[in-house]
Amino acid sequence: MIRLTRGEKIFTIFNHCFLIFLMILMLYPVWYIFMGSFSDATRAQQGGFFLIPAGFSLDAFKAVLTNVSLLSGFKTTLITTVIGTIIGTFLSAGMAYALSKNRLRGQFILSFIVLFTMLFNGGMVPTYLLVKNLGLLNSYWALILPNAIGAWNIFVMMSFFRGIPRDLEESAKIDGANDLTVFFRIVLPISKPVLVTIGLFLAVMYWDDFFSTILYITDKSMWQLQAVLNDVITNTSEAMMKQGVSVSYQQNVSKFTIQMASIVVATIPILIVYPFVQKHFVKGAMIGSIKG
């Protein structure tokens, strides 16, 4: 073990204290939602700040877990997230690897084509008509394919691939490997940190997506989880008041506790993913796998 200097010791203590403070600060909203979901609906209506549930009730969870649409939304989102993340990660990695090679003819133009999609889009209606003409409305592919490739992900991956020591690839080439073999055998295995990071970003994007439902889905049993959830959260008297909805419908709004319970149920699964990603952030992961 290396001895710490006095300055470093003070720094370590300060650092720990700061991070603990930050954790408490960051935890509160989540705690608030969690406690809200266990609250009694009548008491929670009064709002305000709370540390423990305002009254205790499991009614909200009962209501949420028997909600048919939430369950079907779960299925849709799970399928699209898994397939979308796999397709998205591998296709982006392939593109990023190819584009990271300066020797590639047309590299500038091709990169620019990718960048351009980050800034310009044709808008909702043309995209809708395209998906409709492809016959993809109300299908999982409509939720997966349009979002699979993101320029941001590709450029971030490119910068990682550029950091791979060149002699690694070169020695493999001398052994007679082609670019495909190099990519699958050498580049991908040592790029685990960036692959899981981009994979995580894609997974979270697919998990959080609700706009694709608005665009491409009419069948309620195909709604994404977040679309169902968003409907529960925004179905408040406030939203209705803005639209001028007449009072009799305003009584059908979802209660605060049900909103909170829905968020808890819909968010926990994606939170579980992170620890698996973290595992790959071990210092020197890249070098380690090269040696091994």
Partner: protein
């Protein structure tokens, strides 16, 4: 690139066949590029004809092609509005603040996290600070108003304990932008560390060992080993974030602002929302979007040039 150019200078080969040769040589790279490119071209480029509605008086049923051309009328309308300069200034200022805070703080935080030796503590911290990212703005805005309101909000309660007068953070032009920036940072800083932590994990441990041998303390290691190692990622992220320089965060502002802070909080997106969408003026909304994209494109390309001039690897 270099060897081929030299070759073509020394040996007179037909340039066409040399391109072909390069393509054949890199055929597997093109193969890797192909599936993603196909998806991009289908789902992003084919619908792109839609941007022409910025130059048309768009009627949804006539369709894009049959709607009447109006030239730059929509853009003129955008620039002619009495508050346009104010709105543009607000947008730039808010997004610039967010950009600066949003890229420095995650880097600092990931450096701090990197210094934590206890793996368990580190993992728990990471997992918790990225939680706010998952709370939607609708819910988060509700929490913010509860906390910041001048009557019984917790923040004002604490201020009053210290003998300070209650502040209407959301209704006061002096504080509103700070509230926007700090809540944005709060929500995204933990999430922002992920990419840097991934980059840091790629740093060769031998470099640290060498630095320690040279007697470098922690700060020097950060400065001389960690930061240079993640510099390419930082540069890429900064360049890319310029693409959103005119996106000040529609949802957040829309949920938090009020007439009292229109002077500092009204941005292009909220303005267009009130103006375009409420009056079903899609051409106007598209024109505003196109204006933002053009500015972003210019900034990104310029920033990329600058990065390359300073010998850094840019986007391409």
């Amino acid at each position: 690139m270099e060897p081929t150019t030299k070759q073509s200078l020394s040996v007179p080969v037909k340039p066409k066949s040399s391109i072909w040769k390069d393509i054949v040589r890199d055929k597997y790279l093109y193969l890797l590029l192909l599936p993603g490119m196909i998806l991009l071209i289908i789902f992003k480029y084919i619908p792109m004809y839609g941007v022409i509605i910025a130059f048309k008086d768009y009627n949804i049923l006539l369709g894009i092609t049959k709607s009447a051309w109006v030239g730059f009328e929509q853009f003129e309308k955008l620039f002619r509005t009495p508050d346009f300069l104010q709105v543009l200034w607000n947008t730039l200022l808010i997004s610039l603040y967010k950009l600066v805070a949003g890229f420095t703080l995650p880097i600092i935080l990931s450096l701090l996290l990197n210094e934590v030796r206890k793996i368990g503590f580190k993992r728990v911290t990471q997992s918790i600070i990225y939680l706010p990212h998952f709370i939607s703005w609708v819910v988060f805005a509700g929490i913010i108003t509860t906390f910041l309101n001048p009557v019984d909000g917790l923040v004002n309660y604490i201020l009053q304990l210290f003998g300070h007068e209650a502040i209407d953070f959301l209704g006061n032009s002096h504080y509103f932008r700070s509230v926007l920036v700090s809540t944005e940072v709060y929500k995204t800083v933990g999430w922002g560390t992920i990419i840097y932590l991934a980059a840091i994990s790629g740093v060769n441990p031998e470099l640290y060992e060498a630095a320690i041998m040279d007697g470098a303390n922690k700060f020097r290691q950060m400065w001389h080993v960690t930061l240079p190692a993640i510099r390419p990622v930082i540069i890429i992220l900064v360049i890319l974030s310029l693409g959103s320089i005119l996106e000040a965060g529609f949802q957040q502002i829309y949920l938090l602002y009020s007439p009292l802070v229109y002077d500092v909080g009204d941005v292009i997106d909220t303005y267009v929302y009130r103006e375009g969408i409420l009056n079903a003026n899609y051409s106007f909304a598209t024109a505003a979007g196109l204006f933002k994209s053009m500015i972003a494109l210019i900034l990104i390309v310029t920033a990329n040039r600058i990065a390359k001039r300073f010998g850094q690897s840019g986007l391409w």
